[in-house]
Symmetry: C2
Subunit: 129 residues, 2 copies
């Protein structure tokens, strides 16, 4: 397991993530961090976000353009309902879905079954604009 030193860079990145409601790309996080006076390297932001994701401290999704996006999330397995217009991201859970997905795998002889699911749409606020 990698040693985890509490560097000011890591603090700043965590802080930036905390200030954001929705998913942000590594580049956006980098820009946010450097707005607050700090001057943190892009490599450092990428490294830390990757580590935080592997440690399950942040959620990561791959956007439609292939860009990775990060967000602080509640613990445990869940999915998201996101507005494609404003980025609003709502956490979703569905036990029936979880069971169904696993069963589909089992029925086909698969093991180590996992899944990804994202629901998208236009939120109420954006629709009334």
């Amino acid at each position: 397991m990698a040693t985890q030193r509490l560097t000011k860079q890591r603090k700043a990145i965590t802080e930036a993530l905390r200030s954001q409601e929705n998913f942000k790309s590594a580049q956006e996080i980098h820009a946010l961090v450097n707005l607050n006076g700090e001057t943190i390297g892009l490599s450092t932001v990428y490294r830390n976000l990757t580590e935080m994701f592997e440690a399950r401290d942040v959620d990561m999704i791959i956007g439609t353009d292939g860009e990775s996006q990060y967000r602080l999330c509640s613990n445990g397995h869940h999915h998201h309902l996101t507005c494609t217009n404003c980025g609003l991201a709502i956490e979703i859970t569905g036990e029936a879905l979880e069971v169904w997905a696993k069963q589909v795998g089992i029925d086909n002889g698969f093991t180590e079954i996992a899944h990804t699911l994202e629901i998208t749409g236009i939120c109420r606020a954006c629709k009334n604009t």
Copy 2:
């Protein structure tokens, strides 16, 4: 609407897709096409795959590394159960899931609701190796 000329390049790309069971990246398709003697430009492969995807002639998914992958698929909305080891891709449909996903959106005031779902695991053949 764009005119669709039946070029030999387009035929070759379609042929390469037809010969493949699983999802392949644009670069892989390009390599496949050029194996068969033809010499087709990489740009052409990208252009055609994009067009074919927009015309719903092929499925496209974004891999974990952000790379786009393409495959000829049956018509209609469906998902995939893919083996992370050998790439085997099985088409999946689930009416209950479709209804549930849409309802989740509706319950949260969303419109123009869509979703993506991918199930992954290790297939039986790969497990017994």
